[in-house]
């Protein structure tokens, strides 16, 4: 009778207990609960204390300022911006400038980093020494110093706009930056882009076809003449039929500066240069470590198959090395993004400069603005690391397969 009444413990409760308390059971769960309660209490204290203090000192609080007119100008903006816009728009101007310099910096840092790493591993004595010297020199000097060096060195080397270095009468290099003709869309632009898109799709299909042939029948098909033909031929045909796609607005020296054209400001160039060369030195070491982590036998096996050194690296070593490289590489990408906040030293209008700088001092709302800025950097970093994790996951899957 009693044995009939005894039920097995509920499976659901057990699962819940394990999920919440781990191995420690309900005791662990209670401990976690207390921990969360303490965290909530601390954050509540911080927020309420801050708002009380602000109220007591009659300091304006809240996010109302974001709708106010900024009233100052910014010298580089990816979206249309004027002084009569709001602080919200200033925030986006700064954010986009930060993202721009980070994305371009990450691209160049990766390219330079891989090249230097391969150079350092190269059997060529001179190349290996030069690459080694680069790494040791660049990674051991403070970044702020390098940014200022590039900025002042670049500025000092360039002439003033009236004596700028001109190329074909339409490219101008001076201490105001590199000014290039600005493309303006003409009626022929849409057909041109359409033809280009068709050519790209066709090339992609061709490439897939050639790969399939290679795996199925072991034939190598030479596709590059077709690719070149498509990529040049189709757009050219569209130009002949529909007319030129773009006209160029040539910059003209007017007063102190050039009017018209597109300008790359020296602050941007110096910051990108400094960030990418600096981070590249670290990436080079990471890549080198990753390649050295791949067993020597793999390289030898590749060579004994008769593959060239470059093919061995590309097809055998680097895919395996990437697994080791990826996590520390993500760190470097995050570092580069965060280091871009040093821009304020050379007047590049990044998020910290225009939002946590000018906007902060004009509104005086330090807590809100610093909070937003920290949140944004956190978000950028989390997104970057999520993308890298996804890539790593795919890479791991394909290597196992």
């Amino acid at each position: 009778m009693t044995s009939e009444l005894r039920k097995p413990p509920s499976q659901f409760l057990l699962t819940l207990q394990r999920a919440l308390g781990g191995r420690a059971g309900w005791g662990g769960f209670i401990l976690q609960l207390i921990f969360v309660a303490v965290l909530v209490w601390i954050s509540y204290e911080i927020v309420s204390n801050a708002s009380e203090n602000l109220k007591a000192q009659r300091i304006t609080a809240g996010f109302g300022f974001l709708a106010n007119t900024a009233g100052f100008d910014v010298n580089q903006s990816l979206i249309p911006y004027a002084g009569s816009d709001t602080y919200t728009r200033v925030f986006f101007v700064g954010l986009l400038n930060t993202l721009l310099v980070s994305a371009i910096g990450i691209f160049f840092a990766t390219v330079i980093g891989f090249v230097v790493a391969l150079g350092r591993l190269s059997p060529n004595w001179l190349l290996a020494r030069i690459s080694g010297g680069y790494v040791e020199l660049v990674r051991n000097l403070p970044l702020l110093f390098q940014i200022l060096f590039w900025y002042l060195a670049v500025l000092a080397a360039l002439p003033n706009p009236r004596q700028s270095v001109a190329l074909f009468g339409s490219f101008f290099l001076s201490n105001r930056g590199l000014i290039i003709p600005k493309p303006i869309g003409e009626p022929g632009l849409e057909p041109f882009l359409f033809a280009l898109a068709i050519a790209l799709v066709a090339c992609f299909a061709l490439w897939r076809y050639s790969l399939r042939q290679l795996f199925r029948r072991g034939e190598m098909i030479r596709i590059w003449p077709y690719v070149v033909g498509l990529l040049i031929g189709l757009p050219l045909a569209s130009v002949l039929i529909f007319g030129v796609p773009v006209a160029f607005e040539v910059p003209v020296l007017k007063g102190f500066n050039f009017a018209g054209g597109v300008r790359l400001i020296p602050e941007f160039v110096a910051l990108t240069l400094a960030l990418s060369t600096y981070t590249a030195a670290f990436i080079a070491e990471i890549v080198r470590a990753g390649i050295l982590a791949v067993h020597k036998g793999q390289m030898e096996a590749g060579s004994s198959l008769g593959l060239a050194r470059s093919a061995v690296l590309r097809l055998i070593v680097i895919p395996q090395a990437l697994r080791v490289i990826l996590p520390p590489l993500t760190n470097q990408y995050l570092n580069l993004t965060k280091n871009s906040s040093l821009a304020v030293a050379i007047g590049y209008p990044d998020l910290v400069s225009v939002f946590a700088g000018t906007t902060l001092s004009q509104t005086g709302q330090a807590i809100e603005i610093i909070g937003i800025t920290m949140g944004v950097y956190l978000l950028i970093s989390l997104v970057t690391s999520a993308i890298m994790s996804f890539y790593g996951w795919r890479l791991g899957r394909s290597l196992r397969a």
Partner: protein, 338 residues
């Protein structure tokens, strides 16, 4: 700099160690034995350290005068150099007792920052510094120019207003500190450097060839510069306000560092009131009867300080202009000590 504002913001958030909205600043300063005064990171004439680390300047003298009134010792001041964008946060968080850092008095700063301006130490206006080789004689010829400024100042907004108002285009490059902005101007990145006119004269001294650069005649804004204190402590507000008034009144009454001892013996009623031989006006402020004597002995009257730091007796050589006393053609005017 970024780190400083972050720490301060966190400190405000945590709020534990900060004396907030208490009428205790004077007591805190007395207990500490030292005044904590926010100044610039080095603007000759207003606040800059010499090669031995001694701070001098008009703004510095205001701090020294406050210390003299409280401690009878103008050296009992700790100077905290602040960038333009960190200054208000430092005051709000209680890191400094008074901000004396060539700060322009505006309505929004007086209201939203949780701080009050106590007076005007220097009536200034924004101007432009250009290379003489550009052959520019007026700011109205600056269409399409590149302009270097220090970020976190009223300068950026005045600049936008001025160029927009005159239908001129320009490019602004904003730097974290004045030094960086001047460096970029000197290297040719900008055609123009802009800040308050007094600042232009001061920064020009730092250039390699000061004579190659000229300050344009246009003054495009009103920049009354003055000290600031936190909201919520009226006693401290009164004291800081009246220390500056005392310096101006001392000049008007003809009290100088040299003649102060003779003046203290004078029978003139207004001198007796000011110098504390009659009545207890100083005690009403929370300091001693002889507070004006202490101030004048410590730093001199307003005119002496002006002359020594920015006027004829200094390298800057700026004329008194608007900063002359009201009865001598200027607008410096202090309420009477009575």
């Amino acid at each position: 700099m970024k780190r400083v504002s972050l720490i301060i913001a966190l400190a405000v958030a945590a709020g534990s160690s900060i004396p907030v909205a208490t009428a205790q600043t004077l007591k805190t300063v007395k207990d500490r034995g030292q005044l904590s005064c926010g100044v610039s990171q080095g603007l000759p004439g207003f606040s800059s350290p010499d090669d031995k680390g001694n701070w001098t300047g008009l703004d510095v003298d205001v701090c020294r005068a406050i210390a003299a009134a409280i401690f009878n010792d103008p050296t009992k001041v700790k100077f905290v150099p602040l960038s333009a964008k960190d200054r208000f946060t430092a005051l709000q968080s209680g890191e400094i007792d008074v901000l004396s850092r060539n700060t322009t008095w505006t309505l929004s700063r007086d209201t939203t920052l949780g701080a009050n301006f106590t007076g005007v130490t220097y009536y200034d206006g924004q101007g432009f510094l250009v290379k003489k080789s550009l052959k520019v004689n007026s700011a109205l010829e600056l269409n399409s120019a590149s302009v270097c400024v220090q970020t976190g100042t009223t300068t950026e907004q005045n600049l936008a207003d001025y160029f927009k108002g005159n239908n001129m285009k320009y490019e602004v490059i904003a730097f974290g500190t004045a030094d960086e902005a001047v460096k970029a101007y000197e290297s040719g990145r900008c055609d123009v450097f802009t800040t308050d006119v007094s600042g232009l004269y001061a920064e020009r001294l730092k250039l390699a060839n000061p004579a190659d650069h000229a300050v344009l005649p246009e003054v495009i804004s009103k920049e009354p510069l003055g000290p600031m204190v936190r909201h919520g402590d009226d006693q401290w507000f009164d004291l800081v306000k009246w220390v500056l008034f005392a310096m101006v009144d001392a000049e008007e009454l003809g009290i100088t560092q040299k003649n102060i001892d003779e003046m203290a013996k004078s029978d003139k009623p207004e001198l007796k009131r000011a110098l504390g031989t009659d009545g207890n006006l100083g005690e009403q402020l929370g300091v001693t009867k002889d507070w004006v004597i202490r101030i004048v002995k410590g730093v001199g009257n307003y005119g002496e300080s002006f002359d020594r730091n920015v006027g004829g007796g200094s390298k800057l050589g700026i004329a008194r202009g608007l900063n002359q006393l009201w009865n001598k053609g200027g607008i410096q005017y202090a309420p009477p000590i009575r």
